[in-house]
């Protein structure tokens, strides 16, 4: 129970910091909306449904990258990560708290983006929405770990996409597959498997990322 309490305390802290600073979520909202508007005018009417689903995933992945790039900034200011690492809580709780907070931001961005997508392009069925939600979990789990790694580097803005994008390819395959394939459930299962494997790997390896 103490582990869960630590995770919730850390997530609540991240949400409070964002509520005060408003550094991340407004940028994510603005980015995802403007991207969908640009795509709406950029692709021809006869481009087909599949192209639209592909563009939705471009918007989702780059919106997530925007959130992940700022994920550890509050910890970098004033060296707070050292303070958290010194605390006697399990260090993986720091990663999980950050993952949950980033997931909340991404879901909030999608609460606006998905209705906008339906308005501009195509309707989304339950399988497609489930694919988006499962991919969100994977992006945030892996992204929070990679973002912590990149944050320690001076070239973090360059490093983060280089680390995150290759590992996001299976998520994009799964998410697009869930939306366009007649056998969408198989892709959902693939996303569940990806989430489980990479969440456990990230959870177990976070400690080694934050110690010198």
């Amino acid at each position: 129970m103490t582990y869960v309490a630590d995770v919730l305390a850390l997530t609540r802290k991240d949400l409070r910091v964002e509520l005060r600073g408003r550094d991340t979520l407004p940028a994510m909202l603005l980015f995802v909306l403007s991207t969908l508007v640009v795509f709406h005018f950029a692709i021809p009417d006869d481009a087909g449904d599949n192209a639209a689903y592909g563009l939705l995933w471009v918007a989702i992945v780059f919106t997530a990258l925007l959130g992940l790039a700022r994920a550890w900034v509050p910890e970098q200011e004033h060296g707070v990560l050292d303070g958290l690492v010194l605390a006697p809580c399990d260090r993986s709780a720091i990663w999980l708290g950050k993952t949950l907070a980033t997931l909340v931001f991404l879901l909030a961005a999608q609460a606006v983006a998905l209705p906008a997508f339906v308005l501009f392009f195509e309707p989304l069925d339950a399988t497609a929405i489930a694919g988006v939600l499962l991919a969100d979990i994977g992006i945030c789990a892996v992204g929070s770990l990679l973002s912590a790694m990149a944050a320690a580097s001076r070239a973090r803005e360059l490093l983060l996409p280089l680390l995150v994008l290759p590992l996001s390819i299976p998520l994009i395959v799964g998410g697009v597959g869930a939306a366009v394939s007649p056998d969408g459930e198989r892709f959902l299962l693939f996303l569940v498997l990806y989430d489980a494997v990479f969440a456990v790997l990230s959870w177990a390896s976070f400690e080694y990322v934050v110690t010198e």
Partner: protein, 194 residues
């Protein structure tokens, strides 16, 4: 409490700390001195458990829940208030009656009136006082302080003098400073890094 022999730390090819021997008994007060770049901060990070030595043996006979660390940076969130910052650390350190302890520390370091203001609005001296509150919050057995007087005004420095006097002998202290004479009456050993 602390025993180190031939402690060395490298970052890549750069050797930051070379063959340091250190011994501080429980309740001891060690002062670490040396010019800029001599490895004081690195040594203190090793003692706090934030880094591991590349070579040599270092034994710190307490677990990390009993270590208090004051760094160059205050290790507090700019967007949170003093109370919110200390409450977060209080939860993570599982401090019983943490609200009373937080209130007492904020009073002691003259931050009570500013307790509901965001740290981003604090002066450097106020932020340093808050950092001291954070380091002392869980009543650590081992207190590792890196340049604790930096940014403090005379009142703040006097408060810290008083705090160190009351802690000396009860808790183990390791303090890195450019002004060792200020703690000459309290120190039990001195380590000069070159």
């Amino acid at each position: 409490m602390i025993r180190g022999r031939g402690v060395e730390k490298r970052y890549g090819r750069k050797r930051v700390l070379r063959g340091v021997d250190i011994s501080v008994p429980r309740g001891g007060f060690a002062v670490v001195t040396g010019p800029n770049g001599s490895g004081k901060t690195t040594l203190l990070r090793l003692l706090a458990g934030l880094a591991l030595p590349t070579r040599g043996d270092l034994l710190v006979d307490t677990d990390r829940s009993h270590i208090g660390y004051l760094a160059h940076e205050p290790l507090v969130y700019r967007e949170l208030t003093a109370v919110e910052n200390l409450d977060l650390y209080g939860r993570l350190y599982r401090i019983p009656e943490r609200r009373e302890r937080i209130g007492m520390l904020l009073e002691r370091f003259s931050l009570w009136d500013a307790r509901a203001e965001r740290v981003a609005t604090y002066s450097r001296g106020m932020t340093q006082r808050l950092a001291l509150c954070r380091a002392l919050l869980h009543e650590p057995d081992l207190l590792v302080l890196d340049e604790p007087y930096s940014a403090l005004d005379e009142d703040g420095a006097a408060l810290l003098d008083h705090e160190l006097e009351s802690l000396a002998g009860q808790q183990t202290l390791v303090v890195a400073t450019h002004d060792p004479e200020r703690m000459a009456a309290l120190e039990s050993s001195r380590l000069a890094l070159a």
